[in-house]
Point group: C2
């Protein structure tokens, strides 16, 4: 984890940009450390997502949490992944033509999950070795939901996940969803035009966790109400227990 730039934000929050091998990433830490860590997921394109990630991470830091995000495989300035590029082009074409997308979603999301999850685990290894990061339970927050599901299944250090039901999920991942056992907080935008509401409800139903909560709100993909930020932090305060400012 090579830090190459840093700046201080209000409230003594430190934002540092790093590379981990060829992967760019950002780490936000609150004034008070060691801080419990939240992995901040996103759909790819770290620069474009920066304003939203910054807002989430500053809010988390105000409640004592560190946040880490890395670029996805093939996203932003990273080397293209030809299979993902083809699948994305196929998906755009199918959506434009109104054709079914199931097979294309599999071709897009399953390789993305396979490539991305080990990278997030490597970033987790690196972050947890820093003295400013608490080495206790870790949270995952955001999308791509399929990456969050896989991490929840394979990565025992992740103790709680906030999943954004706003991206495609291969049907084969429903079986994986049944194996998730950590507490989940699922956000669903009720009128998300790019998302299948019934599929999101079915996925929520499939999760094996004994504690799972669905928060559905009106509005489109980017219209999550501001008050959900507080609900999200409360979820992490409950489950990354003895940590943060609760």
């Amino acid at each position: 984890m090579h830090f190459h730039s840093e700046r201080r934000l209000d409230g003594d929050i430190l934002e540092r940009h790093f590379t981990l091998g060829e992967i760019p990433g950002i780490l936000w830490t609150p004034g008070s450390t060691p801080a419990p860590l939240i992995l901040a997921g996103h759909p790819g394109g770290l620069d474009g997502m920066y304003p939203r990630l910054l807002s989430r991470s500053v809010h988390a830091a105000q409640h004592g949490f560190a946040s880490l995000s890395i670029e996805l495989p093939g996203g932003g300035d990273r080397a293209r992944v030809p299979a993902l590029e083809r699948a994305r082009a196929d998906l755009r074409a199918a959506l434009a033509a109104g054709d079914p997308v199931d097979g294309i979603v599999d071709a897009l999301v399953l390789p993305l999950v396979e490539l991305a999850v080990p990278e997030w685990q490597a970033a987790l290894d690196a972050a947890l070795s820093l003295p400013e990061i608490d080495d206790g339970p870790v949270g995952f927050s955001g999308g791509v939901i399929a990456i969050g599901i896989r991490l929840a299944v394979v990565e025992p250090r992740i103790a709680a996940a906030l999943l954004f039901a706003g991206s495609y999920v291969p049907h084969s991942m429903f079986e994986e969803a049944r194996r998730v056992s950590i507490p989940l907080h699922v956000l669903l935008q009720w009128d998300d035009a790019g998302n299948d509401r019934q599929l999101a409800l079915d996925l929520f139903d499939a999760f094996g966790s004994a504690e799972k909560t669905l928060h559905a709100n009106l509005g489109g993909h980017t219209g999550v109400p501001a008050f959900e930020a507080d609900a999200s932090i409360r979820f992490f305060l409950r489950h990354l227990r003895g940590r943060g400012d609760h």
Copy 2:
């Protein structure tokens, strides 16, 4: 509103039992008054519901809210309402036999709404005339959901409603749900055996409110997680604005 007994609870909360005509009721007020009011709905049988109403009302009082509840028509020690008694018996028989209940739900819930809503409005009139109750916007919290829907439509003093999707709703009330325009916070128990999940989701979809949030949690009818109490209070703090302790 005739108060006939009172006791002080922790935190200087005052619990007073009253009658309004023949209707028994309870008013909880916090130490700091005038306090904004939440109408605390329930399925009938004030004595049996007392422990849960007490818990909700003490929590609300800790955040600066007064709570008021009255017995439902035909509930508790009130005079039986023959039409409701017949409908309840029919419902029990139909459920035991596995027969469809739609017509029986109409026969049970529609008259209950017609009888109950004017009583809650009368209780609201009486409470708002008390110096210890703030005469600004009022909240409704709980069930019977059909009573909450009707109150949300006809009673302009109610500015926000927390509805518990855990009781029967006549199909005719979906049209009424479309006319609801106040902010809603809807609680759904995902595995509530006595409740139709799809009907609850359809009802959430039908509400006309520009701000509506659904919180779904695992567990049965009485298994709402404790953390939802905080989410409920935050909803009222947002919408009974300038009031309470936010």
